[in-house]
Every structure is written in structure tokens, then in C-alpha cells.
């Protein structure tokens, strides 16, 4: 049927639902690429019993847009948003907000972060384990990445279908939740790093840039691979890069090798500069592919 237009009797039969399958399929495929026949069929359908339904739906769709436009407007200019209903201030409000905004924080992830931080401190001080700082630095960048994996998507959030249908779904929600994850993990792990003895490893804050870069890389990849696969690639990649050479070393001086390895990756201005550049690159990539998150749910 390509190359010419659908005859009127086919269109009439399709509109009233009496056309047999073979002709209907043929017409359907033609409509996908012919706007003028699409318009003719739509006009014919409006003349059938479906007409009033379509008219009602048109109003509903356009009314929805009004709300969506308002929501967009509120997002761009928060000052112009209507005043929020008065809420009785409650001392519990901030923790409850945190609870609501980030599924990772209420799942198994928070205990895992606490375990990593406390474990490092206890190992160093109670057990006298000398490699606590390098071990902490090696594990720390993976922690926020794991938090990201548990923050957005069907697999992570039981309310995801609901969340995904709100105007702020997609990348915006993923970023808000990532921010919560970072706000919890960055101070906790850095303080833990600072209170354990250094034993030759880089400073306690040296993991911050790599952690941020890996998180951004996971988010940037997430638009293409899905967040779970993306975080597995970035987190797993980091752990392999750090731990594989150490475990492959012939002698048993794991602690010293780990410190050396970490100094090479995150110590010094050049390495940190490289991580910063990579972070900027990932952020740019993420910004360029931001609409990928809107389609993430349809795969």
C-alpha cells in the first residue's frame, strides 16, 4: 500500500471495526508512515461511536498539559510556586523526608555504610590492624555507587511505578536520591578514614574525587545500560583495578601493596586532577544524555 493512499472503503471498514485482519494490518502499517491517511482514518473514527470518547479525552489530555506546564513553571521558578500548606513543624520532619526521598537509605545500604566505617575504626584501634586506612580507601568509592544502584528503578523502589509517573521522575529524581546517598556516605567515610592510622596510604579525603567520578560514571552509563548494570561495571571495575594487582603480588605484604596501589591511583595532584577531569567529562555526558532516563522504563 506504500506509495499510494488507502481507498475510502478500507478506511470506512477500519473505522467501524468490520475490516478483516489482513486488510486491517496492511492499513495499520500504512498509517504509521502516512500522515494524510492517518488524518482521514481519524476523521472517520470520530464520526463513529468513539467520537464523544475521543472528544472527552482531548479535553482531559489538554487539561493535563496545563498542570504539567504549571509543574514545569514551578520547577523553574520556585519563588512563584503557590505557598505550601502550613505544616506543624515537627522535629521528626527532616529524618522522615530523608526516609521518603531515598530508598537506599532505608534499605540494607545504610547499615552497610555504617559497617564499613565502624569496621575500619574498630579494626584499626581494637585489633591493631595496620591496613585499615588503605582498605577503607579502596572500598569507600564503591559505597556511593552501590547506593546509586539501590536508589532508582523498578528493582530498587517498591513505589517506583508511582514515582516514575510524577513530573520529577527520570534523571531529576535519580540525582536527588544520589545527593542523599552522597550526603550520608561522604562525611561518614571520610571521618572514619581520618581517625584510623594512615600506614602510608594517601589522606583520608583522597577517595572523594574518585568516589564522585565513579558515581557520575554510573549515572551516565545508567541511561544506556540501566542503573544496576552500570553500577556493577563502575564499582566492579574500580575494585578489580585496585585489588587485582595486590592479590596477584607474590609476597604477602598486602597492606604495603595496597597503599602503593592507592597512592598511584589517588595520591598526588596529577592523579586527583585526572579524576576531576573524568568527573567533569562524566557530568557532561550525563547532561547530554539526560533524556535517556525518561525512556529507561520502556525497555
Amino acid at each position: 500500500m506504500t506509495g499510494r493512499h488507502a481507498p475510502d472503503h478500507l478506511i470506512a471498514g477500519y473505522a467501524d471495526g468490520s475490516l478483516p485482519d489482513a486488510d486491517a494490518w496492511s492499513l495499520e502499517m500504512h498509517l504509521e508512515s502516512c500522515a494524510s491517511c492517518a488524518g482521514r482514518v481519524s476523521r472517520a473514527v470520530r464520526a463513529t461511536a468513539a467520537g464523544p470518547v475521543l472528544a472527552d479525552l482531548r479535553e482531559a489530555v489538554l487539561a493535563d498539559l496545563g498542570q504539567a506546564v504549571l509543574a514545569d513553571f514551578g520547577r523553574r521558578a520556585p519563588a512563584a510556586a503557590p505557598p505550601a500548606p502550613a505544616v506543624v513543624p515537627s522535629p521528626l520532619r527532616a529524618p522522615r523526608l530523608l526516609w521518603a526521598v531515598a530508598p537506599a537509605v532505608r534499605g540494607a545500604w545504610l547499615p552497610a555504610v555504617l559497617l564499613v566505617a565502624l569496621g575500619a575504626v574498630l579494626l584499626a584501634h581494637a585489633a591493631g590492624f595496620s591496613a585499615a586506612r588503605p582498605l577503607l580507601l579502596a572500598v569507600a568509592p564503591v559505597v556511593p555507587v552501590a547506593g546509586v544502584a539501590l536508589s532508582y528503578g523498578r528493582h530498587a523502589d517498591p513505589l517506583h511505578e508511582l514515582a516514575a509517573s510524577t513530573p520529577s521522575a527520570g534523571l531529576r529524581l535519580a540525582l536527588v536520591r544520589t545527593a542523599v546517598v552522597l550526603a550520608v556516605s561522604l562525611p561518614l567515610l571520610t571521618v572514619a578514614g581520618a581517625v584510623v592510622p594512615s600506614s602510608g596510604a594517601p589522606g583520608a579525603a583522597a577517595w572523594l574525587l574518585p568516589g564522585l567520578t565513579l558515581t557520575l560514571a554510573a549515572l551516565a552509563l545508567g541511561g544506556r545500560l540501566g542503573l544496576r548494570a552500570a553500577t556493577a561495571v563502575t564499582g566492579g571495575g574500580w575494585l578489580c583495578a585496585v585489588l587485582a594487582p595486590v592479590l596477584a603480588a607474590p609476597d604477602g605484604a598486602v597492606s604495603r601493596h595496597l597503599s602503593d596501589q592507592l597512592s598511584r591511583y589517588v595520591g598526588g595532584g596529577a592523579a586527583q586532577g585526572g579524576w576531576a577531569a573524568a568527573a567533569v567529562l562524566c557530568a557532561a555526558l550525563l547532561a547530554a544524555r539526560r533524556t535517556a532516563y525518561d525512556r529507561l522504563e520502556r525497555h
Binding site: D21, R58, D72, T291
Partner: protein, 199 residues
């Protein structure tokens, strides 16, 4: 802006205007496409309420992601959105336990045809203009035709087809194999000489 749109403004131009936030462009797009989408959805879903929801969702999605569409004709893209939405709606319905389908047991997969012959889909697609495909289609059973329609005409994956029809994936595969075999047999019967290209 805000006045009546030119009747013959292309889909591409309308979508660009929608992406820029023009509601009148979306209204024009709705007038051109909602009718046939409604008819097409109705052929695939007997529940008018679900059809309504799916159609509304489709145009809300268009409003949100019109910038993602490249090219001039929007019909195929719109149908892709609508078909995925219909699959989602079916799944949600199933989850709510409202849809009571009794999946028919997977047919024995031993009907294996020779895989090297030109596929039945290709024959359907090249032969859609010829009356005998219509005749051949009427000879295969409705549930096989349903699977063929979802996978060939609507371009859904096996998993999506399974959700849409409320049957297990294995059944989709076996029915699709059987549909191909039956269609091939029916076509061979109708046209004893090998039906070549669209010559």
C-alpha cells in the same frame, strides 16, 4: 501562535512545536492521530476504559518526550508508545488480579519447520498487497493470528507479547512457530509455485 494550525503542517514540524511547549501543536497532533490509534487499540483490547487510559498516557508521553523523535512521520513512533503502554496496562491489570485468563498449555514445540526457507513474516510483509495472504490468514486459528499480529505487525518482543496476551513466553514462542508453519503451508497451497518477491 494559538490560532488554528495549518491543516497540512507535517508531523515533524508539529512535534518540534510540541517539544517547544506549544499545546496547540499537541492538539493538532491529537486530531490527526488519536482516532486511528483508538481504533487500532480497540482491535487489540476489548476494555474501552483501558483503551482510554492508554491513549491518554500516550499523548502525555508525547508531550514529555517529543524532543526525542527524529524524522517527519510520527505515526510509527506514536504506535510504538501506545503499544508499550498497552502492554504495561495489561501487566498492571494482571497484577491487580482483575484479568482472569486461563493460559492454554504450551503447545508441543515439535512442529519445527525448516528454518532456511524465507520466513513467513517476510512473505506476509512483501505479500500484504496480495489478496491471497488474506485468504491464508483466515485459515489459521485466531490465537495464532493474535500472536502473529503482536510480533509482526505491532513489532512487540516475545516478552511484551506474552504480557499483552496474558500467556507464558513459551506459549508465545510455540504459537509463533506454529503460526509460521501454518501460514507457510497455507501460502504454499494457495500459490504452488514459490511466491517470490513483490514482482
Amino acid at each position: 501562535m494559538g490560532g488554528h494550525r495549518e491543516k497540512d503542517e507535517g508531523d515533524g514540524a508539529l512535534l518540534r512545536a510540541v517539544a517547544a511547549g506549544d499545546p496547540a501543536a499537541l492538539a493538532a497532533l491529537y486530531d490527526r492521530h488519536a482516532g486511528w490509534l483508538h481504533a487500532r487499540l480497540t482491535r487489540r483490547c476489548a476494555d474501552p476504559e483501558v483503551v482510554r487510559e492508554v491513549l491518554q498516557d500516550t499523548f502525555v508521553t508525547v508531550w514529555r518526550s517529543a524532543g526525542a523523535h527524529r524524522g517527519e512521520e510520527a505515526g510509527g513512533w506514536l504506535w510504538t508508545i501506545a503499544a508499550r503502554r498497552l502492554v504495561d496496562a495489561r501487566r498492571a491489570q494482571e497484577r491487580a488480579g482483575r484479568l482472569e485468563t486461563t493460559p492454554i498449555d504450551a503447545a508441543p514445540a515439535g512442529t519445527g519447520p525448516a528454518p532456511s526457507a524465507p520466513s513467513a513474516e517476510e512473505r506476509v510483509l512483501t505479500g500484504l498487497e496480495y489478496g491471497d495472504v488474506g485468504t491464508a490468514l483466515t485459515r489459521i486459528s485466531p490465537e495464532l493470528r493474535e500472536v502473529l499480529r503482536a510480533t509482526v505487525v505491532d513489532g512487540l518482543t516475545t516478552r511484551e507479547t506474552a504480557r499483552l496476551l496474558g500467556i507464558p513466553e513459551g506459549t508465545v514462542k510455540s504459537r509463533s512457530t506454529r503460526a509460521r508453519a501454518e501460514l507457510r503451508a497455507a501460502l504454499a497451497q494457495l500459490a504452488p509455485s514459490p511466491m517470490g518477491g513483490p514482482a
